[in-house]
Structure formats: structure tokens, C-alpha cells
């Protein structure tokens, strides 16, 4: 696939072409909320979320140098969506299918970890039964990811085998080379990764000679990117490799350490809601018996009612069992079924947890204890 370079000042021209091509553009913006009049100016949480950019005038709202609070999974798997519409009248019941509203979409600004998350979710939503809502939207969306040049303290993508600039799951990857000290010019390396990405670039450049001039040959930057990528990886504070945690967890199910590590969990669902790969959902009817919608809503394994039987029995009756499920699902079960761990190291759950529960440190501590134990055993032998 081709590599291009694009000057940062020409990014807007690219977006304009996306919009004029009648494509839906989704990108991170700072979402407007009721700002506080607070005398202390208590920092209202800045809400960077993925939203549709409806017109040229809104392009200025796109935020490029920050991380979103919610992942972009909402584009494919919204927090709530109808899956059928029913009408129940004397003449009988009529069920109408819901159109997944899958429009040709360009998703800009997902991070490489988010993009990999899409491919993880795709495995689940196409596991024997194809979920048309997720898959149709996925099929119609071209993902343009934005390489990370200054990961946060909570980031740990390299722990799960990814990198701040990995390409899997993205159709096109934009890497802001200007953040590399060696690169004087404010420009992006544009790597086209999939045929879908190629199609988008071709269709955009194809219709405009101006764009032909701004998307110039970029192969010369590829080497610089590799070096840059290594440099950024080096800067990351959290580097513990998660690879062998799966094997450890297999034998840790009833280990009291998992309980003590998660003892402070309060049982809210923040971690699941902000997670790019958590996909558990609930199915409920909204409406009356005569007319309404069957909804598919986000749910969380942290909630006490999640597994509670109608008869009262609850297999996960204590909070640590629910935390255990979350970690086991992500780092053991999913890997067993779908080859990769269900965690992309974005660290959103780490930042959002009200009691600072931290999947990275849980894994770190489990590994440390396991290694100590093993050392002791070896010595005894």
C-alpha cells in the first residue's frame, strides 16, 4: 500500500473533501456542556468525545492533540440502540426490522489501540451469529487512526503487544511527525493500510487536483516513523508484558490475591462503559405492550444484577467475583477463544475508576507474586 505525506495545514482541506464527498465524518471534539460558573473555576472534566462533524464550519472543533474520554466503539456499538420495532394490535403482532443506519463514514482520530479494539470486537460480533448492527456499520466505516506521540501515564498498549503507532484495525494511519524532534516540518505520514483505506484516498485525490498536490509521496518518512515509534515506546512508563498473565490466571481463579487486589471495587460500571472492547449488553423492551422497541443497551459485568438468576441464585454474588470475571474475560477467556486479549492498553478504565482500580497494576502484582512464589519453590527444590 502507498504512503503519503500531508502537511498539517492541509488537514482541513482533506476533511472538506471528505464532507463534500457526502461522507459522514466523525472525529473527536470537545463536547459542549453546561459550564460551571464556579468561583473556584473547578475544572469541569473536559469531555473529548467522538461526534459527527456535520459541516465545514465545525471542522475547527476537531481536537487532535488530546485523548477521548469514551472510546470510539460507540460508532459501531452505541450505548443504546433499537434492534426491532413491534406493534401489537388486535389484528396481530407486526415486527419491523431496524435499519442499522450504516452510512458511508470516515472515522478520524481513533488511536491505534482503539482501532485494534474494533478488530477484537469484530471477532465477537461475527462469532457464528453475525450481528448486523455492528458489522454493517463496521463495513461502511473507514478508520483513520492518529498515531500517539505522547502517551499518557496510564497508557500501556505495549504491554498487550500493541504500539503507539500500530496499524492493525486501522484503514489509514496518520502519524504526526512534527512531534518528532528530528522533523522540522509540521506534517503527517499517511500510511494506507487496507484496500478500504486506499479506496478512500483514491476517491478523494481522484476528484481534486489540489489534493493530488497536497498528498505527496511519503515513503521517505517511513524509516523516521519507525525510529520515532521506538522512541515513544521507550518513553512509556508502563511496560510490563501481559503475555504470560493468561497462563498465570488459569491457575489463579481461586487465588486470594485477586480478591485482595480488587477489594476496593465499588461495583459501578465506569470501567466497562469507557472501555473500547467491553461489549456486554442487555436486551430490554422500551415502550408499551401495544407498541415499542426492543433495545440493546450497554451493560457491565461489575453490576450485581448482571448474572443474578430469576430464582435468586447469583453465581457472582460478591464484588471480587465480578472483578475476577472482568479480568479473566479480558486476559484469559477471550485470548483462548479469539487469539488476543480483550484489552488494548488504552488506560481509560484506569483514569475513570473512582477508586483507582488499575488493571495494569493488578496484572503487575499478580505476576510479581507468581514469580516470587516460583523462585521460592525452585529454591526449595
Amino acid at each position: 500500500m502507498k504512503n503519503y505525506q500531508l502537511s498539517a495545514k492541509d488537514l482541513a482541506a482533506f476533511f472538506e473533501k471528505v464532507l463534500s464527498n457526502n461522507l459522514r465524518l466523525i472525529a473527536p471534539i470537545k463536547v459542549k456542556q453546561n459550564e460551571s460558573q464556579n468561583v473556584t473555576k473547578l475544572k469541569n472534566k473536559a469531555h473529548i468525545l467522538f461526534r459527527e462533524i456535520p459541516s465545514k464550519d465545525d471542522l475547527k472543533n476537531i481536537v487532535i492533540d488530546a485523548y477521548t474520554d469514551m472510546s470510539a466503539k460507540e460508532i459501531f456499538f452505541p450505548r443504546s440502540e433499537p434492534v426491532i420495532e413491534y406493534t401489537n394490535k388486535k389484528s396481530g403482532v407486526v415486527i419491523k426490522d431496524i435499519d442499522p443506519q450504516a452510512k458511508e463514514t470516515v472515522l478520524f482520530g481513533a488511536r491505534p489501540c482503539d482501532a485494534f479494539g474494533f478488530s477484537l470486537l469484530e471477532r465477537l460480533f461475527s462469532w457464528d451469529y453475525d450481528d448486523p448492527f455492528f458489522l454493517k456499520r463496521r463495513e461502511k466505516t473507514t478508520v483513520i487512526s492518529l498515531g500517539c506521540t505522547s502517551p499518557l501515564e496510564s497508557c500501556f498498549c505495549t504491554s498487550v503487544g500493541l504500539s503507539p503507532m500500530n496499524t492493525e484495525g486501522s484503514d489509514i494511519l496518520f502519524t504526526p511527525m512534527s512531534n518528532n524532534n528530528n522533523d522540522k516540518e509540521d506534517r503527517y505520514l499517511v500510511e494506507v493500510i487496507t484496500p478500504r483505506g486506499e479506496k478512500l484516498i483514491e476517491s478523494i485525490i481522484g476528484i481534486s487536483s489540489d489534493l493530488k498536490n497536497i498528498f505527496t509521496e511519503g515513503n521517505s518518512l517511513v524509516q523516521a516513523k519507525a525510529a520515532f515509534e521506538n522512541k515513544v515506546k521507550e518513553q512509556m512508563k508502563r511496560k510490563e508484558d501481559f503475555k504470560d498473565i493468561t497462563e498465570i490466571l488459569k491457575y489463579k481463579f481461586d487465588d486470594s490475591q485477586l480478591e485482595s487486589e480488587t477489594y476496593r471495587c465499588l461495583g459501578c460500571g465506569v470501567c466497562s462503559m469507557v472501555c473500547p472492547t467491553c461489549h456486554c449488553f442487555d436486551i430490554v423492551d422500551e415502550g408499551e405492550a401495544s407498541h415499542g422497541y426492543r433495545m440493546k443497551n450497554w451493560d457491565s459485568c461489575s453490576f450485581a444484577l448482571f448474572t443474578k438468576h430469576g430464582g435468586g441464585h447469583n453465581p457472582r454474588d460478591m464484588q471480587f467475583k465480578r472483578c475476577r470475571q472482568r479480568y479473566m474475560h479480558k486476559l484469559h477467556y477471550y485470548r483462548e477463544k479469539f487469539a488476543d486479549a480483550l484489552c488494548v492498553g488504552c488506560g481509560r478504565c484506569v483514569k475513570a475508576c473512582p477508586v483507582n482500580l488499575d488493571i495494569y497494576s493488578v496484572v503487575y502484582n499478580l505476576k510479581k507474586a507468581y514469580a516470587n512464589n516460583k523462585n521460592k519453590e525452585d529454591k526449595e527444590k
Binding site: Q33, N38, T40, S80, V270, D282, E286, N356
Partner: protein
């Protein structure tokens, strides 16, 4: 000695010494305090059951969690009697829990911390600005002999301007304001789970026969959920603002709860969590209660 300077390492040592005594003498089974967290400067709720582990306890200005929420959790409740590290604001929650018969006063040993404001991600939260409980009241023991100078109270509450803004709005505008806020709600229930006063075994949001609140994260259910939770907290909420800190969507729960707390103060001259003898006005009734609102 009245001061605004706090030597946290002294306070920390006192917590450790006291905890050691309490555990060794078997006066308590567990100490709920703060310990080192995984990220810099982020202490975490920490549970000590063994006197040998008290050095895991720490204390500094980043100890913002209101730990009293743990007392009614299924894992911790059976471990009574507990000792718990509280700031003046957190101690109000304990009073509330005792007054509402959720815990027995003799089951909890409160280790009261003098506090001149906490830092949440480097910022002073608004609840600390006009704090009247910098020197905790109603606790089993106040740690250290220092007295925080609390004379620097500003006349205006930090949320005063927000309140003014709400009061100036028409009913429709106000409705729209709150609808905008609640529309963002993703129903993660962090507000409920972190709230010491949301102790119901089965929350009204979880009831399905009949179902009072739609569980779908959409306008209708979100408004009902947030409004009903606020009403349930009227006169009980101590404004520790843990819910607004925890809300991942930045919903102005601080303002909502403060608005209602002001209503209670003006209508009943009642401030929650200040007195072991006073029941929250909306959970009691009196034949002499004003009834002129019934028309």
C-alpha cells in the same frame, strides 16, 4: 495551635500508631484508610486487618475518597467493628449512617483528620472552599493536636453563581439545563456506588416488578434516574461530592445536590450529618408539620 500548615507525615504516623493499637487490642477487626496507589499521587482505599501491615497506611492531601461508603458494602459490613479514617466532611456521612440506623455508632471508630482541603488532580474541589468542618466533629478521636484555621470562610458559597444562574432561568430553561446534563448519563451508576447514602440493597433503578425507571440510557430513563436519586438524597446528602467526582460524563450532580441541600436548610433549618440526635426532616414526620402545601 491554630495553623493552616499540615505536616502530613506526622498525621500519617499517628494514623499508623492508632491503627496498630486498635487492631492489637482487638477493638476493631479492620482499619479502612488510605494506601499507596498505582499512579503517582493517587492514594487508594486500603483495608488493614493485621497490625503488622499498618505501615501500608498513608495520608496526604490527595486522600479525597469518602471511605464511609465501604461500611455498608457486603464485604465490609460483616467485619464490624471497624476503624475508619475520616476527614470532617466524611465524618458527616458516618453521622448520617448512624442516624438512619445503617450502622451502630459503637461499631465504628472514626479516626478524624484535620484537613485544610484536599487536591483532586491538583485542584481544590469546591466542597473545600467554604468547609466548616476542617476540624472534624463527631469523631472517636481527632488525630494530632493541630487546629486548622477556619476563619477564612467566604460569605458566598462556591456554587452561589451557579445557583443564581439556575434561579434566573424560567422553568423551561431549567428543565432544558438538566435535560442537557442528564442526556449525557451512560448509566454506569458510579454516582450511586460511590455514595455512602445510597445503601439500599436493591436500588429503585434495579426494580423490575414493577419497573419504575427505564434502564435504557436515553432521555426518559436518564431524567427519571437522576431526578429520583436526587430526591432520595434530599436532606441526607452531606455534599461530599464524591458522585460528581466519579461521574465520567461530568454531570453537575454537585449543583443538583447543593440546590436541594439549600432547600432543606431554608425550609427546615437542617444541615445533614452534623448531629447524631437529629433525623433527616424528610424521613420523619410530626403531627405539627406544616401542611399548608396540601391544597
Amino acid at each position: 495551635m491554630t495553623t493552616t500548615n499540615i505536616n502530613y507525615s506526622d498525621l500519617q504516623q499517628e494514623i499508623r500508631d492508632l491503627s496498630k493499637d486498635l487492631l492489637e487490642s482487638k477493638k476493631v477487626n479492620i482499619v479502612i484508610g488510605y494506601g499507596a496507589g498505582p499512579l503517582n499521587e493517587k492514594p487508594i482505599p486500603t483495608f488493614i486487618t493485621n497490625a503488622a501491615d499498618v505501615d501500608r497506611l498513608l495520608y496526604n492531601e490527595h486522600c479525597y475518597h469518602n471511605l464511609s461508603v465501604y461500611l455498608t458494602k457486603a464485604e465490609i459490613r460483616p467485619k464490624a467493628p471497624w476503624a475508619i479514617v475520616v476527614k470532617g466532611c466524611d465524618a458527616r456521612s458516618i453521622v448520617g449512617l448512624v442516624v438512619e440506623n445503617q450502622i451502630k455508632r459503637e461499631d465504628v471508630f472514626t479516626i478524624g483528620m484535620p484537613c485544610n482541603g484536599v487536591k483532586i488532580e491538583g485542584n481544590l474541589p469546591s466542597k473545600c472552599v467554604n468547609c466548616t468542618v476542617k476540624n472534624p466533629a463527631n469523631v472517636s478521636k481527632v488525630v494530632s493536636s493541630i487546629k486548622i484555621d477556619s476563619s477564612a470562610i467566604i460569605e458566598q458559597h462556591p456554587l452561589h453563581q451557579d445557583m443564581e444562574m439556575l434561579n434566573k432561568m424560567s422553568a423551561e430553561e431549567r428543565f432544558q439545563f438538566w435535560k442537557n446534563e442528564f442526556d449525557r448519563c451512560i448509566r454506569c451508576y458510579a454516582c450511586r456506588q460511590i455514595c455512602p447514602h445510597c445503601f439500599c440493597n436493591t436500588c429503585i433503578a434495579e426494580k423490575s416488578t414493577p419497573q419504575w425507571i427505564s434502564t435504557t440510557p436515553g432521555s426518559r430513563g436518564n431524567f427519571a434516574w437522576n431526578a429520583i436519586r436526587a430526591f432520595h438524597l434530599v436532606g441526607r446528602c452531606v455534599e461530599c461530592m464524591e458522585c460528581s467526582r466519579s461521574c465520567p460524563m461530568g454531570i453537575r450532580l454537585d449543583l443538583l445536590n447543593h440546590y436541594l441541600a439549600e432547600e432543606v436548610k431554608n425550609s427546615y433549618n437542617f444541615i445533614s450529618g452534623m448531629d447524631f440526635e437529629q433525623k433527616p426532616p424528610l424521613t420523619t414526620y410530626n403531627l405539627k408539620d406544616n401542611q399548608d402545601f396540601i391544597k
